[in-house]
């Protein structure tokens, strides 16, 4: 059973559809082609919050919906919890 969904191939983050615990091995489904991905969570990710499925370097853009949703000042790694602590808007 999947525990997160990813909007599109190429996105850096998926969205938890159930609470994910640190250390948990979890399956995600890409919504555009139904492919799956398996990763190990490096933090707790509550339902609706994001988990990294790609490494993003410091100051790199973060992609979701196939488009930038902000940048990661310090970067993050696959499995990290991604939210306001490690991603910032590019707009205001």
């Amino acid at each position: 059973m999947h525990k997160f969904l990813i909007h599109k191939q190429g996105d850096h983050v998926g969205v938890a559809v159930a609470d994910i615990q640190e250390g948990e091995h979890v399956v995600g489904v890409f919504m555009d082609d139904d492919f799956t991905i398996e990763i190990t969570a490096r933090g707790n990710v509550p339902l609706g919050h994001k988990i990294a499925i790609a490494d993003v370097e410091a100051k790199g853009h973060v992609i979701e919906y196939g488009l930038p949703i902000g940048y990661a000042p310090e970067g993050f790694r696959v499995g990290d919890y991604v939210h306001t602590h490690n991603i910032k808007t590019l707009r205001w």
Binding site: G48, K50, R91, W92
Partner: protein, 384 residues
């Protein structure tokens, strides 16, 4: 699809509710309007906070919202009460252009009690008259539907907004009219909207409206995190305005944008999908859309916004299983099966479309049954 039934008004427009409203032109006439509504069951007072010493574009918007609210096809008849006769007459005359019964009363020179006496008698006459109006067969293409989401989270972009998109595309294909808005909440995806504008002129008009709104926000020189996205958005997992906007835009479907409207403006380009320049705050936005003529609203929520509108039924849907469980009395359509992948988008669209038809035909939405009647005027700047 079952036969739709609605109220055909004097000007041919179709409504799905049959309200007799008691409309204050200004804040100080609220008490008289509420007194009339308490005397005459079946009438609906619409108290609000403004209407005095406004000027310029702000006054234009005030009148447009007042007149549009009274002119909305969900309104059978209107009693208008203001402190002085001139502005009261402007609002009443504007509504009367639809051909529906309107009566105007001003308080100056006679006081609340005499005004309430006269207005109550008229309200009673209107409500008895309206009670005999019958629902008649109508077509889907005769509806004007508005969309706006709220207390969004990531489930909104994953599930409830794509569900609305299914219905928006079906409505537009059927020849109905749909409004979306939330200008600041397009930030990060404004180019997606601009690209869908049907003509270069519309694209230019849209981008000018968008740039104006964003300039106004930036002029305040503050960090918007916590306001846009809201604290609730952040609690629900949304991290930036761009992420919120891309989820928001999901609900607009795939059709071209054939008109770009000022707040509370009535569409002029025929049926199709329109952008309206609005705040992203739910009550302000839906009040403007109802004033533009929308008779039914689709409202995706993530964390559980509880909004309603006095004249326009608001259908709320969520894809968040926690919200569906903990705030079930506010949720009309639960599409959380999209997250577990137990249902697909088409099935979710069918569920929402079916519910829309039931609400058109008279089923009360959760917000209606709970008495949510948020009526909030948009004010552009301080009064003189």
């Amino acid at each position: 699809m079952s036969q739709l039934l609605g109220y055909r008004r004097e000007n041919g427009k179709v409504g799905i509710r049959n309200h007799v409203i008691i409309l204050p032109v200004d804040d100080i006439s609220n008490a008289a309007c509420e007194a009339v509504a308490s005397h005459i069951p079946g009438t609906l007072a619409l108290p609000h906070s403004y209407g005095r010493l406004q000027y310029g574009k702000d006054l234009d918007l005030h009148f447009r919202t007042m007149i549009g609210t009274g002119a909305n096809p969900n309104v059978a008849a209107a009693v208008v009460i203001g402190i002085e006769p001139n502005w009261t007459k402007i609002v009443a005359d504007g509504i009367a252009k639809t051909g529906k019964p309107v009566a105007a009363f001003s308080i100056e020179g006679q006081g609340d009690l005499e005004t309430v006496r006269q207005a109550s008698r008229k309200a009673m006459e209107f409500v008895q008259w309206a009670s005999e109006l019958q629902r008649v067969p109508i077509e889907l293409h005769e509806l004007t539907v508005s969309i706006k989401c709220g207390e969004s989270d990531t489930t909104t972009g994953l599930g409830s907004c794509p569900t609305v998109a299914q219905v928006v595309d079906r409505l537009v294909d059927a020849g109905a009219t749909v409004f979306f808005g939330e200008t600041s909440e397009l930030t990060g995806g404004e180019h997606l909207i601009a690209d869908r504008c049907a003509t270069p002129e519309l694209r230019q008009k849209f981008m000018a409206m968008y740039d104006d709104y964003i300039a106004e926000i930036k002029n305040q020189g503050v960090d918007l995190l916590g306001s846009q996205p809201t604290q609730g958005n952040i609690a629900g997992g949304l991290s930036t305005i761009e992420e919120k906007a891309l989820g928001n835009i999901e609900k607009t479907g795939t059709k071209p944008i054939i008109g770009v409207l000022d707040p509370a403006e009535t569409p002029q380009n025929g049926p199709g999908l329109y952008f309206m320049d609005t705040s992203s705050a739910a009550a302000e936005c839906i009040t403007l859309m109802a004033a533009g003529g929308a008779v039914l609203h689709l409202f995706p929520t993530g964390q559980g916004n509880i909004i309603g509108n006095p004249i326009e039924p608001v259908i709320k849907l969520t894809a968040n299983p926690k919200t569906a469980a903990t705030m079930s009395e506010h949720i009309d359509v639960d599409v959380s099966g999209l997250l577990s992948r137990e249902i697909n988008l088409k099935a979710a669209g069918d569920m929402l479309m079916d519910y829309l038809c039931r609400v058109v035909n008279g089923r009360l939405t959760a917000a209606e049954a709970l008495g949510h009647r948020e009526f909030v005027m948009t004010k552009l700047y301080r009064s003189a």
